[in-house]
Every structure is written in C-alpha cells, then in structure tokens.
C-alpha cells in the first residue's frame, strides 16, 4: 500500500479543520473543526505506525492517548460553550470579545 494515501488524506482533513476553525462563528462548529484536525493527526500516527513497525506500537498507543485527550477537551470545551451561552445568550465567537463578566 502507498503510504501517501493516508498522509494526503490526513493533510486534507487538517486543512479542512483549519478552514472550519477560522471560518466558523458558532462555537460548537469550531469544536467540530478542532476534532477534524485531531483526527487528521491520528490518521498520520496510525499510518506512520504501520510504516515504521516499531516494537512499542507507538503509533497506535499515541492515537489512543490523543483520542482520550480529545474527549477531555470536548468535555471541558462544551462546558465553556454552555457557560458562554448561559451568560450571553449566544455562542457567536465574534461577539464574545470580553473575558470579564457583564455588569449585573
């Protein structure tokens, strides 16, 4: 099998993720694009793991770690999005320009 197939697919997925992070305004959609980027990295890890065939299975184990970290990231990220929505009634990232709480 050509190694280039998964690598190019990973590059395309990463590019789409970059586009999504930059172009989207809805915070949930931005998180989805971040997931795409993480998955592109995972595909690269698996592909290079299959190519290099190391004894420690580094590619696959690191992918499992990335999946775990991504799950934690989504959990905390969505908690922040919900908090943002509760405070501002909007998840539009272009309008979330201040860190301080709004004056009550």
């Amino acid at each position: 099998m050509h190694l280039a197939v998964p690598l190019v697919a990973g590059a395309l997925l990463f590019g789409l993720g970059i586009y999504g992070v930059l172009a989207r305004k809805n915070a949930v959609l931005v998180l989805m694009a971040v997931e795409l980027m993480l998955n592109a990295v995972n595909l690269n890890l698996i592909a290079f793991g299959a190519y290099l065939r190391d004894r420690f299975r580094t590619g696959e184990v690191t992918t499992l770690f990335v999946v775990t970290i991504a799950a934690a990231e989504v959990g905390v990220g969505l908690a922040i999005v919900l908090l943002l929505y509760r405070r501002r009634e909007s998840v539009d990232l272009d309008r979330a320009t201040e860190l301080r709480e709004e004056a009550a």
């Binding site: 099998m1 050509h2 697919a9 590059a11 789409l16 930059l22 809805n26 959609l29 799950a71 908690a79």
Partner: protein, 169 residues
C-alpha cells in the same frame, strides 16, 4: 495498486468529503451528523491500516460519545433547526490560509513519501491483546496520567457548568 490502496482511498475520500460538508454546511445539526460519517470512515481507514483496536475506540469514543456530546451542546445552545445565516465569518481569508497550508503539506508529503510502500501484513494486527500488552508494558505511566487528566476534565466540566457553586467571598 493493490486492494488495500483502493479500499483506503475510497474510505479516505468519504472521510474528506464528509469533513468538507462538516465545515461548510449551514445547518448545525447536519454538521454533527456529517462528522459521524467522516469519523466512521476514518475508523475504516484504521482497520485497513491494521489498527483494529484503535478503530473500535474511534467508533466508541468519537462516533458514540463525542458526537452525542456535540448534539447535546447544539440542543442546549438552542441552535436553530434548519439553515442559519450566521454560522460563518471570514470565509475568504480562512479559505486562503487553509488552501495554502494544505497545498504545502500535500506537496511536501508527496515529495517525501510519494513512492514509499507499506507492508501491512508484516506485523500482527493491532488487536486488543497486542495493544493491551504494549500499553501495560511500555506505556503504563502516561496511561495512568491520562486517567488523572480525565478526572480533572470531569471535575472541571462539572464546576464550570454548575452555577450554584460560589467561591469564598
């Protein structure tokens, strides 16, 4: 061209196509559902690349948990069902940056690994037994640290979303 090439190319094309729809569709719920297609096709790629356990974890964690969490967030933030006009911001700038970076990466990867072949049958399939023994022989410390990270993320998410927890005044 082998059968592996054809199958993984088809799966990867499905994944990339669905990902393109994730970042361009104007319906928030559809984006989450296309994300399912994209991540499931990636799980298929992992199977072709002989990473069986990772493929199952991908299905369980991403398709099962992460996308459901996304859908909950979509519903809890009352995203409009149907088309919404204000999903996208600076599309042109984002497209320029993403295209430039993708083109650079693709050219670089094709130049470096364009004619590299992978022998997928040269080592045992990464099933539960193989990955499990690698995990608990060589990777125990990071594995245990990750459980700590998950606990911290869990507590953090609970503290963030509950509004009846007050700091000491």
């Amino acid at each position: 061209m082998t059968t592996f090439d054809v199958v993984i190319a088809l799966l990867a094309a499905t994944s990339v196509g669905a990902a393109a729809l994730v970042v361009t569709t104007r319906q928030v719920v559809h984006a989450a559902l296309w994300l399912v297609v994209s991540l499931a096709a990636l799980a298929g790629c992992y199977v072709v690349l002989a990473a069986e356990l990772v493929a199952w974890v991908q299905v369980l964690v991403y398709v099962g948990a992460v996308v459901v969490l996304m859908l909950f967030a979509v519903m809890l933030t009352r995203a409009p069902i149907g088309r919404s006009a204000d999903t996208d911001g600076a599309r042109l700038g984002a497209a320029v940056v993403a295209t430039a970076m993708t083109a650079t990466l693709v050219v670089l990867l094709l130049k470096s690994f364009g004619d590299v072949r992978v022998d997928l049958k040269a080592r045992p399939v990464g099933n539960g037994e193989v990955i499990g023994s690698a995990l608990f022989r060589s990777w125990v410390l990071p594995f245990e640290l990750l459980s700590l990270l998950l606990l911290a993320a869990l507590v953090g998410a609970v503290v963030l979303t509950r509004d009846d927890i007050e700091g000491e005044q």
